[in-house]
């Protein structure tokens, strides 16, 4: 790696370029596309690190992992991952992922998108995929705003925050995402912030191992738009807020974990339960109905 600059000389290790190690994330990324488009201090890249570590520890065959994103800043995650990756339309990564998963149940399908994409334009799909217990892991990077379009009000913008389309302060109430996921039937629901990198990485690992509809909310700063407009400082300042105002409450009732403007953040693993997936339900039902005539769908990997 000739382009790695070694700053380790201070510790008397002299490394020739060929001895410099590659960043352990790089094999999981499309190297030729880095640097990415995200702003300085944007937390999306940090969530990607956590995802990569979760992926690394999951032991999954990466050729069988697909990642699907919608549109927006977080929508660009798929394009940076060295996996089968799909950058779909605004709000629709979940139904695309549903088609991908049901057409080849052997795939591990991850949906990675933003709060606006998944809960405003894509809200309906989220509800139904969770209700069906579709075997998908959904990672929502919540930065409280629409970053790509310039910081407009999102369903996650806390009341009182100022955003470009709520120039006098947001007077809408925001969604409590874990509560929605829980109510709709997700089998795993967790929230962490990008300050909690180890916990977030562990949640990613657990999510990848879990069968059924998994929801992980990763709170991340948007320093360029949300933080700046609300005079909250840079990315580091937001991470410090995450650190100071977070309370870890595993198993907390999701109805109590709503967010307020710069208020307390309840983080933790809120839900971890078992429920038959949509596909297992279908297979079981059809086996009961048709008996021996029915061949379990997805039981044998589709070869066509």
């Amino acid at each position: 790696m000739s382009n790695e600059s070694c700053v380790a000389d201070a510790c008397n290790i002299e490394l020739t370029p060929d001895l410099a190690m590659e960043n352990p994330v790089m094999p999981f990324l499309r190297k030729e596309r880095i640097p990415h488009i995200w702003c300085p201090g944007c937390g999306i890249g940090t969530t990607v690190n956590c995802f990569v570590r979760g992926l690394e520890e999951s032991g999954l065959d990466l050729n069988n992992v697909a990642i699907v994103s919608g549109i927006g800043c977080t929508g660009r995650v798929a394009g940076y991952m060295n996996l089968d990756s799909f950058h779909t339309t605004h709000g629709r990564p979940i139904p695309f992922a549903t088609g991908l998963k049901l057409a080849n149940p052997k795939l591990k399908v991850v949906v990675y998108s933003g709060d606006g994409d998944l809960f405003a334009i894509g809200g309906n799909h989220f509800f139904h995929a969770a209700r069906r217990n579709m075997d998908l892991m959904v990672v929502c990077v919540n930065n409280h705003t629409y970053g790509m379009t310039g910081g407009q009000v999102a369903p996650t913008t806390p009341r009182g925050a100022t955003v470009s389309t709520m120039p006098f302060g947001n007077f809408e109430d925001s969604f409590n995402l874990p509560f929605i996921a829980d109510a709709c039937g997700a089998v795993y629901v967790a929230r962490w912030t990008v300050y909690h990198v180890k916990q977030l990485a562990r949640a990613m690992k657990e999510g990848l191992a879990k069968k059924g509809f998994v929801f992980i909310e990763a709170m991340a700063p948007c320093p360029t738009l949300y933080s700046r407009r609300n005079k909250l400082g840079d990315g580091v300042e937001q991470l410090k807020y995450f650190k100071e105002k977070s309370v870890v409450k595993h198993g907390a009732s999701t109805k109590d974990v709503g967010l307020t403007f710069q208020g307390e953040i309840v983080v933790g693993k809120f839900v971890d339960r078992e429920r038959q997936t949509w596909l297992d339900s279908m297979n079981e039902h059809f086996t009961g109905y048709f008996g021996d005539k029915y061949q379990r769908y997805g039981g044998n990997h589709v070869k066509d």
Partner: protein, 371 residues
């Protein structure tokens, strides 16, 4: 068997094993039959939460290797528009069945129209090309459906199957041939290994070879303007290269894609141009006119898009007039006029929908053309 059911059988015969749909009159029977049939065939049907979801779930399934279809009618088609553009730019083989009903908006849910012809061609934003077929009988719903799937695989574009309420609900005898007698086009899988393969690199025929998720190619597919690797590249030269190929792969094959049925065209002085159910209503009007001694021919478009302009242009040099009946207020007649380019008369026979034309209405226009 009715047209809706025959369309479903055609899809199955073509190898379609993934359907996502949402109920909408008068198309629902297609997916109901698919839901009935698929468990023991080995495939997947899912009723999604809306047409937006249905139209992209099938695209996900196509990238996992399936032949896919969704089925809808006007209001649902309107909701699917964004994904027609997505299918076009990502070159995802797929079939959209539109059992047309009267519109606009909720319009006439249980009654026929042919008023979505322009929408399927132009409804999604940006420039793109599609293929649209117009069956006029349950038998054709079967036969042409296979063709629709084959064309989707051959050109990697969204293919529209433009039925209407009457064709969908019409019951006629349908002959289903032995599977061995049905020609089915398989996906154009690449033989290149990972590393050498580029998802959007194409040869002279402009249609790239395909892979599917899970094969180790680690593809990236995006609705953004992209280069041969599939990576976003939002600059004018890439846009130009991509658009030339997206449009060229259909435009360069326009002649090959012509599928018209002609009758009495040899000596025709007046030609009725029709498609779908209107072609059947035109028949008696043409026969009556011929009985009255008028030299009337019939040109029926089986493939309506790409429009068979060259056929019309040829005829325009020697006929007195074209008569264009359609179950809308004048859509495909605009294409006929464009092709004719003022060389001869073009007479529209519009109909607001809700029922088919009375043959007399078409006859009246033929007589007007003859004057």
């Amino acid at each position: 068997m009715d047209g809706d059911h025959a369309a479903c059988e055609g899809a199955l015969a073509a190898g379609c094993r993934f359907v996502a749909g949402y109920p909408i009159t008068p198309s629902t029977e297609v997916v109901e039959r698919f839901a009935q049939r698929i468990p023991l065939i080995g495939g997947m049907f899912i009723q999604m939460e809306d047409e937006i979801a249905s139209s992209i779930a099938i695209l996900g399934a196509a990238w996992a290797g399936k032949k896919v279809m969704t089925v809808t009618s006007g209001p649902g088609l309107s909701l699917m528009m964004e994904h027609i553009g997505y299918a076009a730019i990502t070159e995802t083989p797929c079939v959209f069945v539109d059992v047309q009903r009267g519109g606009p908006s909720t319009g006439l849910p249980t009654l026929p129209a042919q008023a979505d012809m322009m929408q399927v061609r132009w409804g999604s934003h940006g420039d793109y090309e599609i293929i649209a077929l117009s069956p006029n009988s349950p038998q054709e719903c079967f036969d042409l459906m296979i063709k629709a799937f084959n064309l989707a695989e051959e050109y990697r574009v969204p293919v529209f199957f433009m039925m209407d309420e009457v064709v969908g609900h019409m019951t006629e005898r349908v002959v289903i041939p032995e599977a061995s007698a049905i020609e089915v086009m398989e996906r154009r899988w690449t033989s290149k290994p990972p590393g050498e393969y580029k998802p959007y690199a194409a040869d002279d025929d402009m249609v790239p070879e395909m892979v599917k998720a899970g094969d180790g190619y680690r593809i990236h597919i995006t609705g953004l303007t992209h280069d041969e690797r599939g990576y976003p590249a939002m600059n004018p030269p890439t846009q130009k290269r991509m658009m030339e190929r997206l449009l060229g792969k259909i435009r360069n094959n326009r002649e090959k894609l012509i599928d018209v049925r002609g009758e009495h065209l040899e000596d025709a002085e007046i030609v009725v141009v029709s498609f779908g159910i209107t072609s059947r209503v035109s028949g008696p009007a043409i026969e009556e006119a011929r009985k009255q001694g008028l030299k009337v021919g019939h040109l029926r478009m089986v493939i309506a898009w790409p429009f068979p302009a060259s056929v019309i242009q040829q005829l325009a040099l020697r006929v007195k007039a074209f008569v264009v009946p359609e179950l809308n207020m004048g859509q495909m007649v605009l294409e006929v006029e464009r092709a004719v380019a003022g060389k001869t008369r073009v007479i529209s026979v519009p109909h607001p929908g809700g029922t088919v034309h009375e043959p007399q209405e078409i006859l009246t226009k033929i007589l007007e053309a003859a004057r």
